[in-house]
Each structure stands twice: as structure tokens, then as C-alpha cells.
Amino acid sequence: MNQEEIFQQKVDTEVRIEPKDWMPDKYRQTLIRQISQHAHSEIVGMLPEGNWISRAPTLQRKAILIAKVQDEAGHGLYLYSAAETLGISRDEMIAQLHSGKAKYSSIFNYPTTTWADMGAIGWLVDGAAIMNQVPLCRTSYGPYARGMVRICKEESFHQRQGFEILLVLSKGTDEQKAMCQDAINRWWWPSMMMFGPKDDESPNTQQSMKWKVKRFTNDELRQRFVDICAEQIKILGMNIPDSDLKWNAEKKHYDFGQINWEEFWNVVSGNGPCNKERLDARVKAHEEGAWVREAANAFAEKQKQRAHKNSVAA
């Protein structure tokens, strides 16, 4: 067997691929693209929620939101670390994000205009993310799979806190109820788009499934998401903004309406409501933090030299 066949056999028999194992270049590149894109999404994802930390309605909500945003930073780090084991440096990934070469999830290019958005993001956006991430705990690349296990454990808190925010609003005043429905209206379709293009327009899916980088297709996961949310929303007493949403007894799934793919591709290609704002915020944070990174390096270097001098003198 040649190396590629040995590799594929390992994948087929659920033996995880580890950093120093031989792997096809294309596998390495696909993973770098997917993992770094995922990492960038976690980091950029801190921005829309960070927007509400200073305006959370209670001290407890504020503490929860800070904890959640801190988790997102941690998730970004797990994923950057996993990508680094494939041979790309952190600096290169950051540079690719800032130059626009690397993408992040389009969902974070939508604005968070009311407090209810924190609920809708937790329930729908994190809910969609979990749907994608749970199968990735068994993805073929070891460091990625291990990172995902850690992330999934924490994501569950995110989704539950989001649903609870909406639940409280759904039992509130008319104004609060309206705010809850409005947030669901705005986040539903972008969340549906998080699963990516339809299977017949997703050219990489087949190869990714063969490599077990992906475990389910975009459409399979999207359908699962719809089926779950269509039931959960009943508890909120709210509506999903889709007039075609209907239980199909024959298929045992919910039918749903057309996704506006034009909007999807428009946001992906940089023309969403907040694309520029998000990237600018990232670049600014990175540039304004440069002196901290330099100072820490200088300090570490000085300590090293001092320790060396002392050991020579002693």
C-alpha cells in the first residue's frame, strides 16, 4: 500500500490522524482552512456579544455574558492551537484574517441591535454551531477532534443561557415579547445559512466526507436544526419567520422555505451589514495590543539574561 492508501485505511477504520503522521497535502490544507476559519469565527464572534456587556439588564446577565465571551476566546485558542499542529503559524492565520484572505462565519456580520439578540444568538446561532460541532468531536484529525470535545462541553451553557433569555422575555410585557419575536425574525435566516450552501452546490463536501473531516452534509445538519427549533419555539410561544414551515408526516421532517442565497453570498463576499466594522475592530485590537506583546517579550528576555548572569556569578 502507498502512503495515501495507508492514510485512507486509518481514516476508514476510525484511527485518528495525528500531527506527525503522513497526510495528503490537500487534507492538510483543507483542515488548515476549516480549523482557522472556525477559530476566526470564535474570535470575531466575541464582537457582537461584547457590544452588550456594558448594557446587560442585570449584574447577573452581565457576569454570564462576560463568561460566555471569555469562553469564545478560549474556543478560538483551542482551534488556533489545533491548526498550528498542521504547520501554519499563529501570525500567518491572524494575517490572513486581517487581510480578508481567510473567512469567518458570516453570521457575525449582522448587528446586535437589542438585548433580545443575546438570547437569539445563544439559542439559534450557538444552536446551529453545536449542530455542526458535535459530529466534529469524531473528526479524523486528532487535535481538532480533541479541541471540539472541549468546545462542545462549554457550548451547551451558551445555548441554554440564550434560550433562557428569550424565555424570560416571552413571559414579559408586550414590548418585551415583541422584542423577543423581532430578534428571532432577524436571526432565523442567517442561522439557517450557517450550515453553508446546499449539498449540490458544495463542491468540497464529498472529499471532506471521505476524509471524515465532515461527518454530515450541510443539508442534513440544516434539516436537523429546523426539526429541533420548530419544536423548541413552541415553548417560547413565538413564531419562526417562515410561512412554508410545516410538518411533513411522510418525510417525518419539517418542510421549510427557500433560503435567500443571494444574501448569503453577498455577506460572504464582504458586503454584509457589519463586515467592515468587525474586521476594523479586529485589526485595531491587534495593532493597539502590539506594544503589550513586545513588552512581554522584552521582559521575558531580560529575566532570562538576569537568570543567566546570576547562575554564572554563583
Partner: protein, 120 residues
């Protein structure tokens, strides 16, 4: 794409020069990479949990505490600079970790002893 890929492997592979030295010198701004090991409770081994960048060991431990032990995951942390870890070569795994199935006498069940014999 290939020229973007610098190889920062864990440790080194026999026969390859340490890959990170050149890259590190050209980019002094980058904090070194550290591998993080966490003991989940007293009595258990430290286990590898992931890695992070930090300027020195103290910062690496502080950051590891914030990232890897926010929910009772550990009571003790080790950090080791990734370049200090030496690893076996996966290409030799088949011969290095050959189970030596022909050496059955290494297993306790190889020895045929009387049933009356107890506590052994």
C-alpha cells in the same frame, strides 16, 4: 500555499533539522509555543490538554489557568516549551511498538499452574 506552511512540529523528527529555529529568529515578535499538561485531581497524572503562546513560563501557566481550567478541570498545571519536546517518529511506530505477540511468555496467562494454587 506551500510556502506559507512553516513546520512547527512538536519536537523534532529524526533526520530533519529543527524546523522552528529559522522562523523564530526572523520573527522575534512571536511568543514561543508552550504545551500544557493538567492534573485533573490529586493522585492522577498530568495529561496533555493543548498548547498556547506566552512570553515566559509564568505567563504560560497563568494563561493556561484561564483557558484550560475554568470549570474545575485541574488542580495543577505543567507547561513545557514545545521545542523542548522530543518525539518518536510515527513512521517507525510499527516496529517500535510491535506488540511482540510471539513472546507470549510475557503474559501471566502463559504459565499453566495447578488450580489449587491460590493468591497468585
Amino acid at each position: 500555499m506551500n510556502n506559507l506552511l512553516r513546520k512547527f512540529y512538536y519536537g523534532d523528527i529524526l533526520g530533519e533539522a529543527p524546523a522552528s529555529s529559522g522562523a523564530q529568529q526572523s520573527d522575534r515578535q512571536t511568543w514561543p509555543l508552550w504545551e500544557v499538561f493538567v492534573r485533573s485531581k490529586q493522585g492522577l497524572d498530568h495529561k496533555h490538554v493543548g498548547s498556547l503562546h506566552a512570553a515566559d513560563a509564568k505567563m504560560a501557566i497563568e494563561n493556561a489557568r484561564d483557558v484550560y481550567t475554568r470549570r474545575n478541570e485541574g488542580v495543577s498545571i505543567w507547561v513545557v516549551e514545545s521545542t523542548q519536546i522530543h518525539a518518536s517518529n510515527p513512521d517507525e511506530a510499527a516496529s517500535l511498538y510491535d506488540p511482540a505477540n510471539d513472546k507470549v511468555y510475557r503474559h501471566p496467562t502463559f504459565y499453566d499452574l495447578p488450580d489449587e494454587l491460590s493468591h497468585i
